[in-house]
Symmetry: C2
Subunit: 368 residues, 2 copies
DNA sequence: CTGTTAGCGCGTTCAT
DNA sequence: ATGAACGCGCTAACAG
């Protein structure tokens, strides 16, 4: 008996109800070819006659048909999608990273599934589970805490993953900025300007990037043969309020620091609030350097000296790393550390000159 | 003949190669039940015996199996995913909106496909096509230009869609902030402080939100029986550089304004740069009010008076609107306009008091 | 070069 | 309450 195809309307709705979008079957029927020919034509397969190809395209246009990636990727067992888990979508650092991720992912034909864990371990786990269920090809991940359950589950699942900014200990691909180098440059700048009592508002100690910044801070002192003023190092949470309270605490000490280095952009805003609140003048009363250079840096009065971070590139190269791992799961683990640049403005006094910066991309390969 | 199931390894990899994650079949086999029973158990179906349910869960845990949403949603013809198209992921306004979107989407079990068109109409079209191919249930969209091809294609496709911030003319769901009301409040505040020559740096005229702000600016003058200083209204692109150049142009006029109202956050930063560059003092030489209140507002010296926008809520309610439309495609079109609040700080002089603000949510239903 | 066939992993009827 | 069949929309073998 003949293959009676049951009636379906081909995209254009004749009545009021929303018609199901025309699929490969309707296209095949209208073009008068087999379904598989449509598939080949649309997938850019080599062995398709120009005639068929043209008629297929014509039918697609006439029906306003759109390929079904869900079915396509289920069948081909090749999901061209990647997941992102970030702890705070509101932080400009991460949005810029996501910008970079999106750019290279889209160029590779991937789509981006974004989730925000809002620094909540439980939401983080749910996000990881969702992304697994969506069968993404891989995940770009910034853990929100020191011992992330989501991270462990993901690692155990064997799903390709690259860590961003905060690098966990294990053998995982990762991309980040040179926190140590950037911090050393910032503090060295202050030392060169004669500062010795340099406060440091840093983040929670479990984060690898926080540890790196600490190392850079200390290295700058040691390089100049100076003792590290450990009493001036404070650990705050990475939010604006954290920076505010830490700075306030620093400023109310008897032996107040003459300069301060703040470890992330939101905390820097909080630190500035505290400084203004005390009626202190920048840079006369206190010099300020921030980690992470953002649009508002030039709108402050005086303009803020800051460590510029290649955030877009971090995202872009992390995504690249992920794509490469998806291509070759056996490839040795790689960690990319991107160089920073100290942008000298007016918040430390002294001449406003452009320092060379360490644009060199340190790249280290760890065993697989 | 018997149905010979070909061998597959159930999740745990015995050799070095990455094993395919265990699916419903492996779970069924290990639990000793049929595939359909597993499906029912995992989908929370009512008629499943506790015994079977328990064994299924146990098998899922043992195999570390994760459901396949791709297959599930292909089969059930119900894709629980929504797409987002924004013009600039770097703009804090949009990231906050996305934050709200993600929150309600995730709560509804949806996942979020994010695309950034970077103000490029061509990228925008590609993003729209990708999202259609992903068969998302709906799209949250901020068109990047006056006559967006992507918008037209999407509207023609009949895919549920809600416009964000910039509302196109047609009968489409939309969510935005009360630009007119917020602008009127900002300008009225300046007028009350005695200012008459109030500059206005606004965005490109095609945008509905720009038009609304213009209306609010004019309304404030008219309400006080004053003539609108149309010569002080400038249209810049919405970026920082746009604000800088417009402000610069305003400040170099013979009859310089005594106050300025800037229509978005990035342009405000640019305007501040221009003001500082001219060596002008805020608020003595010029008063400043910004549209969109961001974290750095309180870190400026003096702190910035600004119109606070319910950006998170815009995203959240837009997502809610989308979900409702997906549920009921016939529902009449709705447009949500969320109220703003003027946050008075020091950048205009005068007493720092909290104004009431129009928290009322204007909500208007247009015919379907 | 093109059509036919057999599934991808799962939900959903039908039986029982 | 449970199992067997069928198919979602598409790709990938094979045959012709």
């Amino acid at each position: 008996m003949g293959n009676v195809s049951r009636p379906r309307d081909g995209g254009t709705s004749h009545d009021g109800t929303a018609a199901r979008p025309a699929g490969i079957r309707e296209v095949a029927q209208r073009a008068g070819v087999a379904i598989s020919s449509v598939s080949r034509a649309l997938s850019g397969h080599p062995h398709v006659s120009p005639a068929v190809r043209a008629r297929v395209y014509e039918a697609v246009r006439a029906l306003d048909s759109s390929p079904n990636r869900v079915a396509r990727e289920l069948r081909s067992r090749r999901r061209r999608a990647a997941g992102v888990i970030i702890p705070d979508i509101t932080n400009p650092f991460f949005t810029s990273v996501v910008d970079g991720i999106e750019a290279v992912l889209r160029r590779a034909g991937y789509c981006l599934l974004l989730t925000n864990s809002n620094e909540d371990p439980e939401r983080e786990r749910e996000n990881a589970r969702l992304l697994r269920a969506e069968k993404v090809a891989g995940i770009l991940f910034t853990p929100s805490g020191p011992d992330s359950a989501a991270y462990r589950e993901l690692a155990a699942s064997g799903l390709p993953m690259v860590a961003i900014s905060r690098l966990p200990g294990g053998a995982v691909d990762g991309g980040t900025v040179d926190c140590a180098g950037g911090s050393a440059a910032a503090v060295a700048h202050l030392i060169a300007l004669g500062h010795r009592r340099i406060g440091f508002v840093n983040g929670p100690a479990w984060s690898s990037s926080v540890q790196e910044r600490q190392a850079g801070y200390e290295a700058a002192f040691r390089k100049h043969g100076l003792a590290v003023p450990t009493d001036l190092v404070l650990h705050a949470d990475l939010r604006q309020s954290g920076g505010y309270h830490a700075m306030r605490e620093l400023l109310t000490r008897r032996d107040r620091p003459t300069a301060v280095y703040v470890g992330n952009n939101l905390m820097t805003l909080g630190a500035l609030e505290a400084i203004h609140e005390q009626g202190l003048r920048i840079p006369k009363d206190i010099a300020v350097v921030g980690f992470d250079d953002l649009p508002w840096a030039t709108s402050l009065q005086p303009a803020l000296t800051a460590v510029r971070l290649p955030t877009f590139d971090v995202g872009a190269s992390a995504a690249q790393l992920l794509l490469e791992r998806v291509e070759d799961p056996q490839r040795p683990v790689r960690t990319l550390v991107l160089g920073t640049r100290l942008v000298v403005r007016a918040s430390c006094g002294g001449p406003v000159v452009q320092l060379p910066g360490n644009d060199s991309r340190l790249e280290e390969g760890v065993c697989a």
